[in-house]
Symmetry: C2
Amino acid sequence: MALPVETFFLKPDAQGTLQAQIQQMIAEGILSGRFKPGEKLPSTRKLAQHLGVSRITVTLSYTELLSNDYLTSQGRSGYYVSETAPTPPNFRAPDPVQETVDWSRAIGQRFTGGDTPHKPQDWSRFKYPFIYGQADPSLFDHTNWRHCAVQALGQRDFSSLTMDYYDHDDPQLIEFILRHTLPRRGISATPDQILITLGAQNALWLTAQVLLTQRRTAALEDPCYHALRDILAQSRCHVSPVPVDRDGLPPGLIPEDTDVIFTTPSHQCPTTATMPMERRRQLLDRAREVNALIVEDDYEFEMSFLRPPSPALKSLDRDGRVIYVGSFSKSLFPGLRLGYLVGSEPFIREARALRASVLRHPPGHIQRTAAYFLSLGHYDALIRRMSQALHNRRTVIETAIAKHELSVAGLGAFGGSSIWMRAPDGVNTADLARRLAEQSVLIEPGAPFFAGPDRPTQFYRLAYSSIPDARIPEGIARIAQTLAAW
Amino acid sequence: MALPVETFFLKPDAQGTLQAQIQQMIAEGILSGRFKPGEKLPSTRKLAQHLGVSRITVTLSYTELLSNDYLTSQGRSGYYVSETAPTPPNFRAPDPVQETVDWSRAIGQRFTGGDTPHKPQDWSRFKYPFIYGQADPSLFDHTNWRHCAVQALGQRDFSSLTMDYYDHDDPQLIEFILRHTLPRRGISATPDQILITLGAQNALWLTAQVLLTQRRTAALEDPCYHALRDILAQSRCHVSPVPVDRDGLPPGLIPEDTDVIFTTPSHQCPTTATMPMERRRQLLDRAREVNALIVEDDYEFEMSFLRPPSPALKSLDRDGRVIYVGSFSKSLFPGLRLGYLVGSEPFIREARALRASVLRHPPGHIQRTAAYFLSLGHYDALIRRMSQALHNRRTVIETAIAKHELSVAGLGAFGGSSIWMRAPDGVNTADLARRLAEQSVLIEPGAPFFAGPDRPTQFYRLAYSSIPDARIPEGIARIAQTLAAW
């Protein structure tokens, strides 16, 4: 039987090349059982005409399907669905399920209901997205990333792509971080003291699991990165929130019974404060005094475009007390999911065993791609371009904020990609965010960063990492207008 | 100052193209502070001559370094290290650290010392690798994977590459699995009932964390996948090992107090038994009777080249009791780290929240690449080619085993990629494996698959997924000789 050409349609919302779409349409028809073995396909000429594409495109699709044994060709008589083509299942989809399981009982541990607020996935449809932590297509070095990824897909790198590394990491990436990335933060480490993680989030999670239990206490900056509180909730440890000041975490306020101190000295999250050298030393002294470990989340150190970054806390650590969290996801793009932990061997050994159990290892291909991107110098070049662009945006946003007399709560003396703001008394910034969203302006309300129960509601964060310079003034103007009309 | 051409050397073990190596050499020289701003580089002609490469290669490297601001060019006078090139750090690496932390106290939870045995990373250097779960370069469809990965790196897919999905997945991959992969297992599900994971390992881990606590009991197949026992150890639940027979897990032996049953009905791991339909129904009845959930690890169902696969247990599930674990890492390559969970909404919701806290989401690029590879039909075509090749190897290995009269303990009626073997009484297969490794033969000792303390030591696994047909007879011969001389 010949398949009528009229039954062939390209989906209007399909992605990929035309050739790929045609291939997909036919493969799906066969797999779903609509096209049966032995059935004859329309000629390339007919199908091309029907779909309004060139004949060569159809021919290429057919040829690819031939080589994959979806189709056979019988000389001049045309193309047929292969007798040995992949087949649809020989059983039917079942009747609808009647849920009888009592899930409120069956679930042993709950993880929903955490502190981390919902963020809009469609942020790029907003005209004034003062959103934090998404990649800006105009800044990212897509071309070179692509080159490196293609290189890492080559035959030479076959094993790094496909191999089960068990609990190991890509040796090329490890070597680069040890020899080039860490020395720039003043840190020296050996391969046994580093572990690649699935982003900084994963690094923080692994650390909390290894170091904390329900009998231990963590000191946290207040405000802090909200997902960190979710992570600590899972470890069921006691939590002591320590209010930060304009220099970040004040060492003197860290309680005696603290086991682990979580801190963001480069750019305090979210207030953007940078911890001065003197306080870094005091913090190390205080940790020694109470016999606590320190987890240093060194996010955004590269974005120090106003002054050179301070050496990492880890570089001042003389007794192996500091665990360092680094990330490439922040500076490259968050979808990369690549970060690392640096710490003493006994700690890294446990974190590695836990990682192996949870997920084995980060995919080899992304590790190798990052290794190439770093070692070819693209990373440093990108950071420089991004710093320049953020520097410009920073000037624009500061000017706009000053013009409209909005209140700055934290500015980040070294740079960064966001400003911490305070709304006038009586304004709940969750409401503000909702009203602004209706005007295509995205801001981040501040309350979720604070420890409960009485969270300040007048703070908000304005990030300038994903909004073009030209849109900043109007975005700020809309915020000012909305606040003026409150 | 001009940099003498003699100080330029390509590393003998360097990887990547010559152009990339030259770029890397110069970028590293600048970043390490060896090459200073303003210093003049050798001319392209001189450097090409010195390195023994073509001049155009050097010119292309210089041009790339120009665009990244490592170099500047001053017309005819040549190339210089840019005055604004990325700089080395302005502080020194610190003195060696004197560890003073008592790590035996500081570590709150230990994860080392688990059941999973050490596997050789250099397995491909063995001539007769009867090793399980690594990719065979001769079977994998590298070309089309590369095409799909390159497509997923395109501008069109920029957001899927770079975006922070928060707790979401790639909608294209989800759609394909729901519409094409699951129906072939007889399963129908909605987007709220599926979660992409970092491989099957991650799926099992998330499931154990959500469903089990120290007050709950898991029933496990004995023997079973060793990493699963590590995962359950982390949840601190009670564990009931249930001895499997030639039809897999016997439902009648599952204890009354069981909360969660872990099973591998398609190919029991490691005995390769396939559970008959009748027993699948009995297993569901037993689960209902004791009010337990079932976690079905459906690994290798695609490798049913001897008979069509049975429908998944999940497809027979009428009350939402079965949680299904699928994986692409097994059939594509383990370094991919991509799997999925299918289950009732309340369960998937908790697993999603936990995943977000642990790692956010699997990298977008690998999700999109897999979506293309699947939807273009490459996956099914690959599975067919692999099945054909495994079928051939299976014939070769069965013939060799019969010829040498080795003892088969489990054969896998539907296919699979391994055979479960029994050595003569008195042979400890851990010793056997060591002796064989000296003869370039890799086998997997069986003891780690069993629950302790008295583990049988005479079993071993022979996988044929990574060894070429032609080498199988000699590999089996060496095993037979070694056993004969025991």
